[in-house]
């Protein structure tokens, strides 16, 4: 395997997904030691992030890498340095991998044109968030008893699909893993062009349950979508009534997932977040092993693991 960028999951095959998840499993079992020893991983976060940045940093350190961290507070990024200049700087420092979070879609792809390091997209605008979808697959596989168990099962992605980079990675990744995906959202939170993904669009969480879903993947509804100049939903109460997940939806065998941070009482009621059906803690926990695996493949360290 060559070192490679991870920019999007749009064209990722089932075999590639399995390879990453298997490697993550080896990391979680503690079988791999420190294959990234001697490698330098740079975190360049042009947008505030606590959980993703911490998860990547732990993932890199546990696998043995040296870590340089630039964030929007207290660095050249705060001084207005351009994306391209930051990437060139990190490249000159000898980065083997650059983990990039940026408010605009396409930032990670632009970065690849200015560095020889592997670029790992840690979220770009409303574009892609590939490691989130990978850790989601890992967590769900674990809950269902294996990657093979995903095939043929139905899931619904609920909420603000329009503005969600998570949805743009989860949709192709879960489909590649063999799942059937539906969307549950009002028209104001869906792309204007009907049927871009060719997925069924359902009108409520109740209807999704009727469709036979086993996974409710809920998305965060940002507060600016609810209020402000051009609100996209009329009220929290109405949103929660049709698109919120509450205890009454928890039929046996239904799992609830969320990429965090959760608006309790909006997309998920408080008693569901940490309930038995919730995979939210599993998702967060999966992040470290999955990101170690991603960095190992990206930097080409996998060859040494295999040897």
């Amino acid at each position: 395997l060559e070192s490679r960028h991870l920019l999007t999951l749009e064209d990722t095959s089932r075999e590639e997904l399995r390879e990453i998840l298997d490697l993550a499993h080896d990391y979680a079992e503690g079988n791999l030691g420190k294959p990234l020893e001697g490698k330098t991983v740079c975190l360049a976060f042009f947008e505030a992030s606590t959980r993703t940045a911490s998860s990547f940093e732990l993932a890199a350190r546990r696998a043995g890498a040296d870590v340089i961290s630039l964030s929007e507070g207290g660095s050249a990024i705060a001084k207005g340095e351009s994306l391209v200049d930051t990437v060139v700087t990190l490249d000159s420092l000898g980065a083997d991998a650059i983990v990039l979070r940026h408010p605009s879609a396409g930032a990670a792809r632009l970065a690849t044109r200015h560095t020889g390091a592997a670029v790992v997209n840690a979220g770009d605008g409303c574009g892609q968030h590939p490691t989130q979808a990978l850790l989601d697959l890992y967590a769900l596989s674990g809950a269902l008893g294996g990657f093979e168990e995903l095939v043929g099962r139905r899931m619904a992605i609920v909420g603000d699909v329009l503005h969600s980079r998570v949805a743009r990675s989860v949709i192709p990744a879960f489909q590649a893993a063999g799942m059937e995906v539906a969307l549950v959202a009002p028209q104001t939170l869906l792309p204007g062009e009907d049927g871009v993904w060719g997925l069924p669009i359902l009108s409520s969480v109740d209807e999704a349950l009727g469709w036979g879903i086993e996974v409710l993947y809920t998305l965060r509804l940002q507060s600016e979508r609810m209020v402000g100049g051009s609100p996209r939903v009329p009220s929290v109460a109405e949103y929660a009534a049709y698109y919120g997940v509450s205890r009454r939806h928890l039929e046996p065998g239904v799992f609830v997932m969320h990429p965090g941070p959760v608006n309790r009482g909006v997309e998920i009621s408080g008693d569901v977040v940490l309930g038995a059906a919730s995979l939210i803690p599993d998702q967060v926990a999966a992040g470290i092993a999955v990101r170690s695996a991603v960095l190992t493949i990206a930097t080409g360290a996998l060859r040494e693991v295999a040897a």
Binding site: G106, L110, D124, G127, P191
Partner: protein, 435 residues
């Protein structure tokens, strides 16, 4: 430039002369004396001759929409470089837009610009002043004084007009001032994204603006044009619906329309590259719209082509699409892009293209646009057989933000004549004094 009409006599020999306006379409000779066309016919000889065997000779192209970034952003374009780029693209007349720094909204700025144009521009240059002070869509500019200072028309280009009431007053007053109004139709309450709100934008996660942002503003502008009687030109029409709206109002208002080479040749699937190079306003549209505006141009619903030549520094384009400045270079690739993509694919005839690049916009500015005895010698010589690759190094403009970089195009402008003077010359060897 108008004062520097050449005293020389020049005969352009054996070019294929094509001017749909005067019906010329065949190999013949054209004599130019004192900056004007003095004779058209076979077997003409003169003291200075240009052997144009194998070339086409058209009335000079006229571009009613260009941004030469002067004053304020001379790092991106100047009057000299912008006019040289225009000449390299075969344009003999250009309207320059007022969204500069400072904005061209006061008579003293117009008169200063007019003086610099005389010294620095290679082509006939018409100043569009602002319709509203600071392009802010509130206070009317002093349109009568602007006209006296040398403004040719008014426009708030680059911005739509926030309020229909304000636009209506602007049209009424422009009519009083005798100035045409060029309108960039965009409703900012709808245009909240940076690309066309279509499949490519949805998949890429780039914020899209719906086509209604253009269509609703176009409809409003056309209704007001009909009611006020102002002379209105709708620029860069990019959707099939807006073109149909223009068609509906053709008999009801004093209205003309243009579309751009890029809206006629490129589509929004380029959004999937995520590259800032492809951000432009109005955005690239789906193929249905591209074909719709192409048909409207063919049928004369849209009167002519304008390039919206918009130079940008590389640091403003080498960014994620959402952050890049909108705009493409236009002058140097306009003819070749249209010749390659529309004529090469049988979508448009060469006479209609010449009509749309020369005759119709020439009529709109009231100068040039034809090869007629007694008229100005504003001419474009083209080698239709030459294929060339668009590259940064081929660009005469100070900027290089062309969406056609790396693309191989057919048809090259090899000579441009303004007022009898050769202002662009890639055929120097053919031009000689007769022994």
């Amino acid at each position: 430039l108008n004062g520097r009409d050449s005293q020389h006599e020049l005969v352009i020999r054996r070019a294929h002369v094509l001017d749909p306006g005067s019906g010329l379409d065949g190999i013949t000779d054209v004599r130019i004396s004192s900056g004007r066309i003095s004779e058209v016919g076979d077997g003409l000889r003169g003291t200075h001759e240009l052997d144009a065997d194998g070339l086409h000779l058209f009335p000079g192209f006229v571009d009613v929409h260009a941004h030469w970034r002067t004053p304020g952003r001379e790092d991106e374009e100047t009057l000299e470089s912008g006019s040289a780029a225009a000449a390299a693209g075969g344009f003999t007349g250009v309207v320059m837009m007022p969204n500069t720094d400072p904005v061209v909204d006061r008579p003293v700025i117009v008169s200063g610009l007019a003086r610099r144009i005389e010294r620095e521009s290679r082509v006939r240059t018409y100043i569009s002043a602002a319709l509203h002070v600071g392009l802010a869509g509130e206070r009317l500019t002093e349109m009568r004084l602007l006209k006296e200072a040398g403004a040719f028309c008014v426009s708030d280009d680059g911005l739509g007009t926030a309020s229909a009431g304000v636009l209506r007053n602007g049209m009424l007053y422009a009519r009083t001032a005798g100035l045409p109004v060029i309108l960039h139709c965009e409703d900012h309450t709808l245009a909240t994204g940076v690309v066309h709100d279509g499949t490519a934008a949805a998949l890429a996660g780039i914020p899209g603006s719906p086509a209604s942002a253009e269509d609703a503003a176009t409809a409003t502008a056309l209704v007001l044009a009909a009611e006020t009687g102002a002379k209105v030109h709708i620029t860069h029409v990019s959707t099939a619906l807006s073109a149909a709206l223009v068609a509906f109002f053709k008999e009801r208002a004093d209205v003309t329309g243009d579309t751009t080479p890029h809206h006629l040749t490129l589509t929004d699937d380029l959004v999937s590259t995520l590259g800032g190079a492809y951000r432009v306003n109005p955005p690239l549209r789906p193929d249905d719209d591209r074909r719709g505006v192409g048909k409207a141009l063919r049928d004369g619903v849209l009167d002519f082509v304008a390039t919206d030549h918009a130079p940008h520094a590389s640091e403003e384009k080498e960014l994620p699409l959402e952050e890049a400045a909108p705009g493409f270079l236009g002058h140097e690739t306009a003819f070749a892009a249209l010749y390659t993509e529309l004529i090469g694919r049988g979508k448009l005839s060469l006479p209609r293209l010449v009509e749309a690049m020369s005759c119709a916009p020439g009529r709109w500015v009231g100068e040039g646009g034809g090869i007629t005895v007694g008229g100005p010698a504003d001419l474009t010589l083209v080698d239709l057989s030459e294929e060339w690759t668009v590259g940064r190094e081929t660009m005469v403009s100070r900027s290089s933000n062309s969406p056609y970089l790396g693309k191989k195009l057919a048809g090259r402008v090899v000579g441009t004549v303004v007022g009898g003077e050769l202002v662009h010359d890639k055929i120097g060897a053919r031009f000689g004094v007769r022994a």
